[in-house]
């Protein structure tokens, strides 16, 4: 259930400028409004895109969040690879990685 909440937070962050502003100014306060697991909460606090990827966040939601954080494309792709290196395979959802962590499919 908490993955649903994590994804709902991403959904709100991606489309609501007011939530984006609150997230920048009082991140913990925004997170308190969602029923997140400790792992999810820590990942949001740290802006850890790789961990959120491994936890199963839908890639389309996560991609927009990475853009919101200002991550260049190559850094975002690498963050997901690093997440898998550190935490193992994607645990849920339909955005599993099928390539290896040292493979740069599109050169980035």
């Amino acid at each position: 259930m908490s993955l649903y909440a994590a994804q709902k937070l991403l959904y709100h962050l991606n489309r609501e400028p007011a939530v984006q502003a609150s997230f920048r100014e009082a991140r913990e306060q925004v997170l308190a409004g969602y029923e997140l697991s400790d792992e999810e909460r820590e990942a949001f606090v740290a802006g850890d895109v790789g961990k959120l990827y491994v936890l199963g966040a839908n890639g389309q939601l996560l991609m927009h969040f990475a853009a919101l954080l200002g991550m260049p494309w190559a850094d975002y792709i690498e963050a997901m690879r690093e997440g898998v290196r550190r935490h193992g395979p994607v645990r849920a959802g339909i955005y599993a990685m099928t390539t290896s962590t040292d493979e740069k499919v599109a050169g980035v």
């Binding site: 991403l10 991606n14 489309r15 890639g59 389309q60 927009h64 853009a67 339909i94």
Partner: protein, 272 residues
């Protein structure tokens, strides 16, 4: 009047947002064909453009996910993404609520669908519009088929939706252009981004172009996920347009462009 134009195209955000990272020759050829599709669309003198998209949680979420939805507003805004990231400035796009209402009522005769009086466009619609109607001056009626959050509508229902949309278009006096956007095979928003199954894409496009209904509807979601990635689920948009247009397809451009994360496609379809 009914349909006056039909086609299908890619919509990946890299097409505009990472254009500077692509090899110039193939990028420019693709962009030129994309713009050419816009010229063909304009030549058909449509009163409105129906875009069948596969949005990415800009409007719909798993708390209340419609299999099919149509916009019903006089204007829309997009992109929801950071404009610098997408390479498209935020803008207001005209709609036509009255036309939408009539189309929604028409489709509802055969297919249950949701309607939305507000709708934020993401790259799934903004990237195609950037090339097809670069002045954002043609009223748009957005359509969404849920291709992102399973369970997904079965392919034969996407076909039925396309047929219903055609009947609805035939019942209004306006000249309607129809463009579907999506896939084909791709593994977007993962470290696999850039992986493209070109033979799978070409086989699907062949079936689409030949109006091979049985072939288009024969893909299981399990096989599509395995062979064409989660992005492959977006074939639903192509299938709906094939059902609506009924004619032969013509692939004007297809090339895998890994930095764009997709086999980039521009295709037209005759209306019969």
């Amino acid at each position: 009047m009914s349909l006056v134009f039909a086609g299908a195209c890619s919509h990946a955000p890299g097409i505009t947002g990472r254009a500077h990272l692509a090899e110039a020759g193939v990028r420019d050829a693709f962009h030129a064909e994309f713009r050419g599709m816009g010229e063909a669309l304009a030549a058909a003198k449509p009163d409105a453009l129906v875009v069948i998209a596969a949005e990415h949680f800009a409007n719909f979420f798993m708390n209340n996910m419609p299999a099919y939805a149509m916009g019903m507003a006089d204007h829309y805004e997009g992109p929801i993404e950071d404009p610098g990231w997408l390479g498209i400035a935020r803008t207001r796009v005209p709609g036509n609520a009255d036309l939408s209402l009539r189309l929604v009522r028409g489709v509802m005769q055969d297919v249950d669908l949701a309607y939305a009086e507000e709708w934020k466009f993401d790259h799934g619609i903004m990237v195609p519009l950037h090339f097809l109607t670069p002045k954002f001056d043609l009223p748009v009626v957005p359509v969404n088929i849920n291709c992102q959050g399973p369970p997904l509508t079965p392919l034969h229902r996407a076909w039925a939706f396309g047929e219903a949309l055609r009947r609805a278009c035939e019942a209004v006096p306006e000249r309607i252009a129809l463009v579907s956007t999506g896939g084909i095979s791709h593994w977007p928003a993962t470290p696999d981004s850039g992986k493209i199954n070109e033979p799978w894409d070409r086989e699907f496009l062949d079936r689409w172009s030949r109006q091979d209904k049985a072939g288009m509807l024969s893909y299981s979601d399990e096989a599509t996920y395995r062979d064409a990635g989660q992005g492959g689920f977006e074939i639903r948009t192509f299938i709906a347009t094939a059902a609506a247009a009924r004619g032969r397809g013509e692939v004007r451009f297809y090339a895998p462009i890994p930095i764009f994360s997709v086999g980039c496609t521009v295709a037209l379809m005759a209306i019969e």
